[in-house]
């Protein structure tokens, strides 16, 4: 008999926990649609269920607490009360109180001795003073109808989860017939066994390759198929919808937004996306961190949002979807974006980077600084954030489970944090490579592409850049790491005639890993290494191959760090140099150099030049006070740059006029200059900012100071409607 009660209690606890999560969510939702009869009904039933079972189990406190809640809810439902923020907070306080009692029940078996009388009082105080016109209005909707409507809640779809808010006993029985609760430890054990089975299967398949026995080959094929299906099936039992983690976010966002004095709505997209249980556990905290961050740092204050012409209500979108065997999770806000300059300054102030390096960093790189430990731009330490722990925790925790974190931000429009994580941790697809006579597995997650160089290419393709080997991959320099060297393996089997480059992604960098041979991709079962080997950062674990031998799994990030391709925060000098080279190439631009007036050298990007024309001075006509020429059957307005920019009189004479024709959407305008000097391809480093109108800045081109012409600005000044009309056209 007592064991029956225990079972009942256990069941009650698990079930109530799920109900509470749902309650949090529903209340937040209800605050937005206070009259939604379905929501009200669902909330009412959930509270009612807890109350009923609490009464049955003799949990006095819980019963009285839920009783008050229930009666307020029923008044809400009948329309005698309307829900406002205050009431929601009080009702949520009740949910918290229930949660505390449950926790104490779980831990000690008793309801605990906390005093919830304040919660009860506050709740029961609501609406006691009857409102002036307290004639009970007619029920808004006949929700009291005997049979509750089908529960319209987004239900957890995992097979191991019972419906979130079962109410009628019939419904519950129905659920019990199709779903059972399974101890997670049992599932873990089954998963391990399947892992073993996969290995045994791989071994048997190996024999199958060399066997002549048709019966054996057939049997092994069948075993292969069955194992694959079994693996998928068992994996599925461990899958849970990500909604299970997200359940708590509406509440967190609501509470946090209230504390910060902001208005924030949270949208969830892809709640049904499934993930392995172990991963769900692992991402809970990082995601919570990230969401809190989005509310606290991402979304601006209401005033600032209105100033910026945005809706006062901030928006946070959580999105999850499967892509290429991975799960992507995005946390976007429509806030102010990252304050790049503030971050830069803060990072320097905190000594995380040198000022000189910070000034050279691109916006994207600066954005990634927030992942450094000890970083925070919050001016004050609030209880929300500003302690300098946060984003680095998010990053390390995600990386711990083999995931990656990326950040993109557009000033004024918001920030998106993109997290990629593997579906499961136990069995992963991997590329098998050989080096120094040993086999290694590289997790597919890190793999970008494979490059094979043969013959002359193999010898010439790899270039040395001050001791660092690089390969030009589609015009970008790819730093190379030789696995043999990185692991201090003997280079037997390495051939000079063939080079295999495995292009990998580590952190935000790409690098090429040069290996002796590339075998195949395989599903491998990840096994941890013993403590005595944990110190070697180059390996993430080990696995057993088809032939029964052990192969090591490479930790791509670890290898990159060992080889200094990426280094953890401190010294990135080598890489920075390599990257500088790369960005040098990126910003290389073809420029058209020309002379304006007597001696001013100017340049514009060649890409902006439609044509160059020579026009005889006598062809120039005047129309509407402007110089124009007839050009290709249309009228081409001319901007005399010397006159417009330098106030120098245009040279009189018979020399033909040189005109740079700029076109946009069928409309053209001519920029008359004195002399076309050259076309150069050069990296532009803007040395000084705009010193005068019509110039975006100055740079040294061909060792001479050259002004960069602000083409758009000049045209707009000359003809303010040039770009508008184009848009209308």
């Amino acid at each position: 008999m007592p064991s029956d009660d225990d079972d009942l209690m256990r069941e009650f606890l698990t079930e109530s926990r799920e109900n509470l999560h749902q309650l949090d969510r529903d209340f937040v939702e209800l605050e937005k649609n206070p009259r939604d009869p379905h929501l009200l009904g669902a909330i009412f039933r959930a509270v009612h269920t807890i109350k009923g079972t609490a009464g049955f189990l003799g949990l006095v406190k819980l019963e009285s607490l839920t009783h008050i809640g229930e009666s307020q809810l029923s008044r809400l439902r009948d329309g005698a009360l309307t829900l406002d923020t205050q009431l929601t907070s009080k009702l949520l306080a009740m949910v918290d109180a229930i949660r505390q009692i449950l926790t104490s029940l779980e831990a000690t078996g008793s309801e605990g001795d906390q005093d919830f009388s304040r919660v009860v009082q506050e709740l029961s105080g609501i609406g006691v003073a009857p409102r002036p016109d307290s004639t009970p209005p007619a029920p808004l909707l006949p929700v009291r109808a005997a049979t509750p409507p089908p529960v319209p809640l987004p239900q957890a779809s995992g097979p191991s989860l019972p419906p979130a808010a079962p109410t009628e006993s019939a419904a519950r029985n129905g659920a019990a017939d199709t779903a059972i609760r399974v101890d997670v430890a049992l599932l873990d054990r089954v998963m391990n066994l399947v892992g073993e089975l996969v290995l045994a299967r791989n071994q048997i398949m190996q024999f199958g390759l060399t066997s002549k026995d048709a019966g054996f080959v057939n049997a092994s094929q069948r075993l292969n198929l069955l194992t694959t299906e079994l693996q998928a099936g068992v994996m599925k039992t461990r899958m849970q919808p990500i909604g299970n983690v997200w359940n708590r976010f509406p509440r967190i966002v609501r509470d946090l937004a209230n504390v910060c004095g902001k208005k924030v709505t949270l949208e969830l997209d892809g709640t049904e996306t499934e993930l392995d249980r172990s991963i769900i556990e692992a991402i809970k905290d990082p995601l919570t961190h990230a969401v809190r961050n989005a509310v606290d740092h991402g979304i601006e204050s209401q005033e600032r949002r209105i100033e910026a012409g945005k809706s006062a209500v901030g928006r946070i979108l959580l999105r999850a979807y499967h892509e290429g065997g991975q799960v992507n999770i995005e946390i976007s806000d429509d806030g102010g974006g990252l304050a790049i300059e503030k971050i830069r300054a803060r990072a320097v102030e905190r000594g995380l980077v040198t000022g000189e390096r910070a000034s050279r960093m691109s916006e994207r790189e600066v954005g990634h600084l927030i992942f450094l430990p000890g970083f925070s731009t919050a001016e004050q330490v609030t209880n929300v954030s500003g302690r300098g722990v946060g984003m680095d925790v998010v990053k390390t925790n995600i990386e711990k489970i083999g995931g990656t974190v990326d950040l993109s931000s557009r000033p004024g429009l918001g920030t998106t944090l993109k997290i990629k994580i593997p579906l499961t941790l136990a069995i992963i697809p991997a590329l098998i490579v050989t080096s120094g006579g040993e086999r290694f597995a590289i997790p597919q997650v890190n793999l970008l592409e494979l490059v094979r160089l043969e013959g002359a290419q193999a010898r010439r393709g790899i270039e040395s850049l001050h001791g660092t080997d690089v390969y030009r991959l589609r015009g970008n320099l790819l730093p190379l790491v030789f696995l043999n060297e990185a692991l201090r393996l003997s280079s037997v089997g390495a051939s000079e005639d063939v080079r295999n480059i495995v292009v990998l992604q580590a952190d935000d960098r790409q690098f090429g890993l040069v290996v002796d041979g590339i075998s195949d991709t395989e599903e491998i079962v990840v096994k941890p290494l013993g403590k005595e080997l944990k110190g070697i950062s180059a390996f993430a674990g080990a696995t057993i191959m088809g032939d029964g031998r052990v192969a090591l799994i490479l930790d791509v990030l670890g290898i990159a760090q060992r080889a200094n391709v990426v280094s953890p925060s401190r010294d990135r000098a080598i890489v920075d140099r390599a990257r500088e080279q790369r960005s040098l190439q990126d910003t290389r631009e073809a420029l058209l150099l020309f002379r304006v007036g007597k001696s001013t050298r100017m340049a514009i990007p060649l890409s902006m030049v439609a044509r160059l024309e020579e026009i005889a001075p006598e062809k120039i006509e005047r129309a509407a006070g402007r110089d124009v020429v007839q050009y290709r059957g249309a009228i081409l307005p001319l901007i005399m740059l010397g006159r417009e920019l330098l106030r120098e009189p245009s040279a009189e004479g018979t020399a033909p006029l040189l005109v740079i024709v700029y076109s946009e959407n069928g409309r053209s305008i001519g920029l008359a200059v004195e002399q076309i000097l050259d076309v150069v391809e050069e990296q532009i480093t803007v040395r000084s900012q705009a010193s005068r109108e019509g110039v975006t800045g100055s740079a040294v081109v061909q060792n001479r100071v050259t002004d960069l012409l602000d083409v758009h600005g000049v045209i707009r000044r000359f003809d303010p409607s040039f770009f508008n009309r184009k848009e209308a056209a």
């Binding site: 073993e196 290995l199 045994a200 120094g436 040993e438 086999r439 692991l487 201090r488 393996l489 096994k527 290494l529 013993g530 403590k531 005595e532 080997l533 070697i536 180059a538 390996f539 080990a542 696995t543 057993i544 029964g548 031998r549 052990v550 192969a551 090591l552």
Partner: protein, 156 residues
Amino acid sequence: MTDSRQLCTFALDGLHFGVEVVSVQEVIRYQDMTKIPLASSMVRGLINLRGQIVTAIDMRARLGLPAISDEQQPMNVVLRTNDGVVSLLVDEIGDVLELDGREFERPPETLSGVFRDVVLGVYKLEARLLLLLDVERIIALGSQAAQRNDGGTASA
């Protein structure tokens, strides 16, 4: 110290060692193994023990003894430890001996180097001395690695 213990014994470079038999999972012949680059020289490699990956520790290297000759294949003494299963590579396996606590003595103060770190004590058998090893210390691979080749001073 009158309690008796059962020790699984083995030989290394002419010396006799023992570990408590309760910590021994099994004794197996030499297995093919996968080398671990960058690992300490005391770690010989990884073996696949029925689907379980086990680190093999070269006991000669661990104790700073000269390496085993090429034609001789070591044996695996597989141990269950607090940190999972590890294997000790030894020259030869001896008997399981039941030993009387009265025969036991703390290692002499003059014992130095790695031996001082890993030897719990000495059993004075009639024909020879048997050194009782501390398994947890062995697999911790010690900070003062076995480079200092000053083992073998276990003469009492």
